[in-house]
Subunit: 315 residues, 2 copies
């Protein structure tokens, strides 16, 4: 194993350096208030020189998947729609790329957990629809979101080649690999993950560590940057009866972070403070990392056919 | 994300618990001395109740891949051969499974970096041949080892379902996934990795962290245990002229470790001390982990076809 790579925020970015920002914030029941808050955070980062901005997962609402409730489908929006329109304006103004995580209404009865990618000229480059959909106590996403049909994608934006994956996707090395193979030098993972307050004491530390380390491993395996914005705050979503659907709710663990291609965390946000986390990424480190740790060179693609199987017992 | 899993060494293993040991040691130029040392270490662990034992990578010799030198092919042995014969005897005596990492001479001019799996009755269950072969300064493995043709395998040994991968394989999530999909509850990664002394100060910490975290990520992604024995000591392999082929050699970083399915390191060995690292693994944690963190449930096998491609640019 030879020389590694380390990225530090430079006061004067070199020509291959791009300043990125990921944001974390608490959400309220009012979509307009969340959107305004999100725009404010992104604008602050853009004013500070960030050229690629990414929101947390579904910033426009509370994490309604705590319950299976048909009322919440009304939170979805079309793409293009009110959020992408607002972000496009911001993107044009600051010549910044924006990745926006949204609850997408694609057609009557067809909803996705989607990220829209807006280029620095305000144009909508396309969408990524979350491919892996969780279903766990208080994370009832399979009720709302049709699994994505976009496959794994990368975009040549004005400022960098980027890929987007969403939350649960982060547990699947396959998604990171396929996105990197599409040319992404930076992977963004808009996220909404937190603790069940009742089990935080026993399991909380290990859960958070697993979350961070598996994304750091995607950086290492693929020689790319990984940026993960996660929401903050404790949310108790209200049912139709006006009472919390769960007495404890979810305590989102924040700690958005940015990792260099050697898996080192460059920047890590707080557990509970609203923040735009900023880092200057030297994209030349991708080539450096991939030639010094040449994993892409040595993949045994002749022996990976089994990865499209459910398990190894299919004869 | 719900309840995680944590494994501690129990004084009285439950019926689903198996005691494993991985060993780390320094190697000398004399193969017989290394083998005797290795047998001694394994026997000590077996006497202590360990039922699955795994050696570091190619324990029988120094890490000769520091140079491309035809003399070193003479270090290889057949399988079955002197090492597996000795281990089979030990396996029978202690009713223990042994995973032995060897330099295999398969046929004239056909050599592999191979792990032999010996069941608790002393029978040779089969071999795994290292699929991913590195080639880096002082790690000139492509000169010696034909890439494996075994594919990724698991064995139902007397004491557990195990898989074996070897060193460089550890950087490829595909290998871990495919091995877990063959039914392995424990992945063993016999390893020989170290620092270039001249770059240790600048890069050493990040390199070691990357190595550990990517293997911890395999545990998380696949809900299985990971056990990685690594060699210790500084080795300066001698060339035909009796002088070191490299003035600095390689300082192997030891720190063999054992990780539970939530990615937590249960046991970690020292940097430079000969050790049999022992842990009791509760195999019931695999089912627990995979139902509480149900990643195998949600893999998008319909969208993973691209993983058998070299890159995403092939049209």
């Amino acid at each position: 194993m030879t020389a590694s790579t380390k990225t530090r925020r430079a006061s004067r970015p070199s020509s291959s350096t791009v300043r990125v920002a990921v944001t974390q914030m608490a959400c309220v029941a009012d979509v307009r208030a969340n959107r305004a808050r999100q725009l404010h955070l992104l604008e602050k980062a853009a004013k500070g020189g960030a050229k690629i901005l990414c929101t947390q997962e579904m910033f426009a609402s509370q994490y309604f998947c705590q319950a299976e409730d048909h009322r919440f489908f009304s939170l979805a929006e079309s793409i293009p729609g009110p959020s992408t329109d607002a972000f496009a304006k911001l993107a044009r103004k600051y010549k910044a790329v924006i990745v926006a995580s949204l609850f997408e209404r694609r057609a009557p009865g067809l909803y996705h957990n989607t990220a829209a990618v807006i280029d620095a000229d305000g144009s909508l480059m396309g969408v990524y629809r979350k491919m892996h959909i969780p279903d766990d106590p208080l994370y009832y996403e399979k009720f709302y979101f049709t699994p994505g049909d976009t496959g794994f994608k990368a975009w040549k934006t004005k400022h960098a080649n980027i890929g987007v994956l969403i939350c649960w996707d982060q547990w699947f090395p396959e998604g990171a690999r396929l996105t990197a193979m599409q040319g992404a030098d930076i992977l963004f993972y808009p996220t909404a993950i937190g603790w069940h307050p009742t089990e935080k004491k026993q399991y909380g530390k290990a859960q958070h560590e697993s979350w961070e380390l598996i994304q750091r491993s995607h950086a290492v395996a693929n020689g790319c940057f990984v940026c993960s914005p996660n929401r903050i705050g404790t949310e108790k979503v209200l049912g139709a009866d006006g009472k919390p659907v769960n007495a404890d709710g979810i305590q989102f663990w924040g700690q958005s972070f940015i990792t260099s291609p050697d898996g080192q965390v460059i920047e890590r946000a707080s557990v509970d403070r609203e923040q735009a986390l900023v880092a200057d990424l030297d994209l030349a480190k991708v080539e450096f990392s991939r030639t010094h740790w040449p994993f892409l060179r040595d993949r045994r693609i002749d022996a990976y056919g089994g990865l499209t199987r459910r398990y190894g017992d299919e004869g």
